[in-house]
Symmetry: C2
């Protein structure tokens, strides 16, 4: 089990730790304690290997198809973390019965992972191990490791095999050709690989420094085998002596911007030089630079604090900020955030709507430069989106449900889990018919624009996204003679337990919103008649398109609350389906148990939802529905929702808070935090739930602090949980950072640049240019 | 450590067993206890997985290139042996401290592997496990497994995940596209794959039968993931109850002769039907059929018995017969024997001269049908050999140093172990310049012909091999002006520590022999002027070729014993090289330690040999050299030979016995047996040493029994080790089986078909047609 309170003093509520080690459940700590810097993500498998471990290193954006019938995915790159450690010939194996004082701890503040324990050999000798590692935020190419072994009560023989191991794959699929393997000066290991399809060169360089009580060990034994270069360090370690091993690795690829256009030979030399420079500094100096970068780039930029009766609330928030940083390729606008970040093979490194709906708001309101980069990724992705629209017979840009490299287009796999009835794999339809993603991207562009006033972004990238997505929708609609309206038939909405439905409410409303946006901006641009308008009109034939948009806006069917019970039908048939007793699945200890009893096809005929569907619509387009309607639907749909998607809880938490079910909201916050940081030890095996991580921040800021942007205006209706005394954070609004402090009875906002701000708090509009203090009625907060 | 005496009664000296289990050294038992039937080889990794294990399944002849820059090799096929077994949620892990009564035993007679132990869970509960498995010799497609779990002293919860796992690779290189995965009737698992280059379809089908005290368990949980189909069986097992699991698997490929020309759909159906038939029989009935096949196809055909003071001598001989059977694709003449059999990834499943020189004699003299099949593989390989000759600028057939599919030609990899000086990989030259293989194949054809009188084989296949290999040699020779003779320059001889040498004695003598053979058969055929002659002359232009052959025979330089010391130079420069103290390497506990100090390039300048070179020449062409010369050279070269190749000891043992160093010969026999079955626990990690296995048989029959074929005539000069009272075996000679019994003072040979036999024993020629008894002088034996 994870523990969360090991930090003391400066590190109180900064430490995620485990105090004992289970070889039966490895995935949790591997993912939750994974390291990274957005350039690469290193899953935290232990140095000594165990059966069942998953040892991953992903470099953002290095997509490749392992063979012609598999989807493009992030390749699992060569491993440098595994060390084969033997004491008197016996392989180190931290079985609980042989291990004392075990602690593994991820220090969120300095982003360093440490592990220490005393191991008793089968001959009864006690040996102390201390491991450390980090993935530098200062030099994005660096993985640094350190190991200290102390012979406590007897002389031992230690051997450590360490090097670069490229005998790795993605669940068996191999992405790399072998390239050259070499050892320079009996010291610097080099391994070159190339991806088999995308032809990306990977360059790994590793150097070791091994010493016994400060005296360098003699030369290691060298081994080069297939996809492997290894050194073996051997030493007698007398009682009381300490063996130290530092291992520094750099990872570069030909996709790196700073190596653009270089020949392999030159890239290798540059990479090797950079490793030599690291070697000259050593682990401790590199760690210092890395920790400073975390302070400067993360903790100073996201100054979040929660004063809660439960320490876990703050730790979980910091944990979210940590993972929001390590998962995000902020360095390169050609790359998006993967659904599992860079912490596991799940979802192949692909980007979903998770980014725009669950993660992007954090960056839009906290670090707009990064939000801009992520939206630029979608702009570049227009290439793939246009390809997808065309191949599906539509116009404009149809965003891929799963996105990899911007030009790839749709990369969703075609086959999924087993169908319990037929024994075949289930066809995955999302890549074909889960189409709301296209409107989600447009929505996110709008949200970013409203929050930042980044006109340059809109002119270069944003308008084109909104126009071309609207063109897709206009071409997508189908005329329904009976309703005399446009339908959007045969889709999957956010609730993925309902495939091939007509008029999913979320999809229709979002398509409508997308079309409205396009018309609004079209009119604005045409009136101003700028060069941007000229360019886009020429490129996208806006004038013609606008006619179709207006027609679509007028006639697109938007499901309305029923007179009888105020229920908004999730789609044309949901409310007519069979109702079954879901108790068993609502009480499940891990997700997806319903598939042990039903096939996906069978679920189509039951009123059961995987995740928030209407709720997320209520949250994002809150002014389209009355509170009455929201409450009625919340109480109808929530009991039918299994929260089998990690995207579900945060939305429900925010809704619950909005609807004044505040203790439930707090409970859902805690549950959302527990998706990765909770007792289900298998939930993170495939990687972190990045949307949920973004959701944690949203529950705090959008939920408890009540921050919303309504029609381009800022609103803040705080309702802190009863257990919280104070919440402090900052948001970026229209280019200025606002520091927010919410106490039991007071809201204080400080505009750091002293520029004028207007916002609404509980129905009252305030304008200020430095500090705003609002007294909160006890009923409000 | 392996133990060898666990058999009792009927199974005395039939059991290879280990009585305790080391998680630190897994490879030994995996390889030594590997199962197979020539169609496929299954490495004996334990059911529960361990770090460091190598889990291999190879299907003979299914060569594939994983990508364009790797050599064609036998792909590691999907695994069915791994079972993830948990007791009360805890993963089974047979750590010695938790395990009692551990025994793993390979019964050579019935070719069944069993393993049993009592495991204590971390909660202190005792659970007894019994595993069994075999790879059927009756139905070559079948892998059968059985597991019994008994709760000894408490109630437990058992879960077993089992299925087909294709997340395997060859040291990271993936050979397969994923095909369809499916579960029929919630019971029959199917996985289809296709090799990425050779486009061979693999079909795996698995069925389970799980029961608790005879009552079938309820339906398992089904999982289909990437390259994986799994079922999970769960059951409460009360104290005293037994959980049983039978798992039957069939493996078929589109390379199977019996599926030739069929569509994938039909092959799948046939394979699935065959599995259903197996399921109807069950483990025990299948085992009975399998054991009968071993009796009929192996033990009745190779009735070898040794009455020795050391039981190990007999067990090792049976062990050799066992592996000679499991390694050999006797069912298909398109396939050769791999250097590591089907027991490991070493040498990629390629065939070397190991077959012709070290293994084939066993089949030629014991089971000529199989020898014929193996030589037919070389006949088919003429396609690749001609390709290789042509691409190297030669004529005729130049056999590949490493052979895969017959048409592939050379498949030796280009890069090998690390050079300690440069840190680069060493270039592997064998595929280019280790050329004696071509003459070795011709020699083996001749040996087979002489021993069998199989004229039909010669006419269909044999002559063509001999002629076309002779054409290669004639085109290969280089004129040496100083000697006024032909040289063969820039080669590697059998001693691979000498690269780029001129006039390696073995190579020159064998090339010469090859040319002589061609001339002899050319003359015979031309005289008879048969259709065969017409055909071959038209195809190979024999008349022209014969002129060159005669010229080459006359003028090819054959190194002669020096007058001074009778030494035959191994090559033009060997005797001029530096001599160093080799004590350290002669006393090594594992091979190749010299590479820790020297690069291969440096070894070129030292009088050090990897393996027998001249000695094998003395053994195979014994009448070309006097005993005096043999002795002088033996005493000079042996101390310079590190026996770093497993091909070395058997030759030296035979030579030592020939030269009357009989106690050394016996010691070398034991050492040869210990190459796989000895105390070096890592020697078999990459797979069995098949040439050494063939060598064990050769030491017994060619060495101790003194069986030789000289100029087509049989000779038998027995010299049993002092520790042996009796040796019995049979050989096949000119189509008739001869049963041989050698005692301390008597040799008895029985001609089973009562056809006339002529042979020489210690210089006396005997002719008989039923039973020959020769009294042996004590000096002789």
């Amino acid at each position: 089990m994870m523990k969360y309170d090991l930090g003391e003093g400066d590190f109180k509520n900064w430490i995620v730790a485990e105090a004992d080690f289970s070889r039966n459940l490895l995935g949790k700590a591997e993912a939750v304690m994974s390291l990274g810097n957005g350039y690469m993500g290193l899953r935290s498998a232990t140095e000594e290997p165990y059966v069942g471990e998953v040892r991953n290193l992903f470099v953002a954006g290095t997509f490749n198809q392992s063979d012609r019938i598999e989807v493009s995915e992030l390749p699992n790159a060569a491993d440098v973390t595994r060390l084969d450690i033997r004491v008197d010939g016996e392989r180190l194996d931290a079985a609980p019965s042989r291990t004392a004082n075990y602690v593994r701890a991820l220090n969120l503040k300095e982003a360093e992972l440490t592990r220490s324990f005393i191991w008793t050999t089968s001959a009864g000798k006690e040996v102390a191990f201390t491991f450390k590692r980090f993935v530098s935020l200062d030099n994005l190419h660096v993985i640094a490791m350190s190991l200290e072994i102390e012979a406590l009560d007897a002389d031992v023989q230690i051997s450590i095999e360490s090097g670069i191991n490229a005998q790795v794959a993605n669940s068996g699929s191999q992405h790399f050709y072998e390239g050259e393997k070499r050892i320079y000066d009996k010291k610097y290991i080099e391994m070159i690989q190339k991806t088999v399809e995308s032809q990306i060169d990977f360059m790994f360089h590793t150097v070791h420094h091994a010493s016994l009580d400060g005296v360098e060990l003699e030369e290691p034994f060298m081994r080069i085998d297939r996809r492997v270069v290894m050194l073996t360090f051997k030493s007698a370690v007398a009682k009381g002596q300490k063996l130290s091993l530092e291992k520094l690795t750099t990872v570069h690829t030909s996709r790196d911007k700073d190596l653009a256009g270089m020949e392999l030979q030159d890239m290798r030399q540059q990479a090797l030089s950079s490793l030599r420079a690291c070697a000259a500094k050593g682990y401790d100096a590199l760690l210092l630079e890395h920790a400073r970068a975390w302070e400067r780039k993360v903790w100073e930029v996201y100054p979040l604090h929660i004063d809660s009766e439960n320490d876990f609330d703050l730790l979980a928030a910091r944990f979210a900020l940590y993972h929001l940083t390590v998962m995000t390729p902020a360095h390169d606008e050609r790359m998006g955030i993967a659904a599992k970040g860079l912490s596991g093979e799940g979802y192949h490194g692909h980007s979903f709507w998770d980014t725009e709906m669950f993660i992007l708001p954090f960056f839009t309101y906290s670090n707009p430069q990064i939000a801009r980069s992520l939206l630029t990724y979608r702009y570049l992705g227009l290439e793939g989106a246009r390809k997808k629209a065309k191949s599906n017979g539509y116009e404009g840009a149809m965003y891929p449900w799963e996105a990899a490299w911007p030009s790839d287009g749709e990369v969703a796999p075609e086959w999924g889990r087993v169908d319990v009835v037929t024994g075949k794999q289930t066809k995955i339809w999302t890549g074909f018919i889960e189409q709301h993603i296209t409107a989600d991207v447009a929505f996110a562009v709008w949200q970013y624009y409203m929050a930042t006033d980044d006109q340059a972004f809109m002119e270069e990238f944003g308008y084109e996204i909104i126009f071309d997505t609207a063109k897709f929708w206009a071409s997508r609609l189908e005329w329904d003679d009976s309703r005399q309206q446009y339908s959007i038939n045969d889709v999957i909405g956010p609730d993925e337990y309902k495939e091939h439905v007509d008029n999913n409410a979320f999809t229709n409303y979002f398509a409508h919103f997308n079309l409205e946006l396009a018309v609004t901006y079209y009119q604005q641009l045409r009136e101003r008649d700028t060069a941007v308008y000229q360019k886009l009109n020429a490129k996208l034939q806006l004038e013609q398109a606008a006619i179709a948009w207006n027609e679509a806006i007028d006639k697109l069917y938007l499901p309305q609350p029923r007179d009888t019970d105020l229920l908004v039908p999730q789609d044309d048939t949901y409310l007519t389906k069979r109702i079954i007793d879901l108790t068993k699945y609502k009480n499940q200890t891990h997700v997806n148990t319903i598939f042990e009893d039903y096939s996906l096809e069978q679920l189509s005929d039951i009123q059961v939802s995987k995740q928030a569907d209407l709720m997320i619509l209520f949250y994002l387009l809150e002014d389209k529905f009355s509170e009455e309607v929201k409450i009625a639907n919340y109480h109808y749909y929530e009991p039918k929702t299994l929260h089998d998607s990690s995207l579900s809880l945060s939305t429900h938490a925010i809704l619950a808070n909005d609807l004044n079910d505040r203790s439930l909201a707090y409970q859902l916050y805690q549950q959302a935090c527990e998706i990765d940081l909770g007792p289900d030890m298998k939930s993170s095996d495939l990687g972190m739930h990045t949307a949920s991580i973004g959701g944690i921040w949203q529950i705090i800021v959008m939920g408890f602090a009540g921050v919303r942007m309504i029609h381009g205006k800022l609103r803040m209706n705080p309702k802190l949980p009863a257990h919280w005394n104070k919440l402090e954070f900052s948001i970026s609004w229209k280019g200025q950072r606002l520091e927010v402090a919410i106490g039991k009875d007071k809201l204080v906002i400080t505009a750091l640049d002293q520029l004028p701000v207007t916002l609404e708090v509980y129905g009252t509009e305030y304008s200020f240019d430095h500090v705003l203090t609002v007294n909160l009625a006890s009923g409000d907060n």
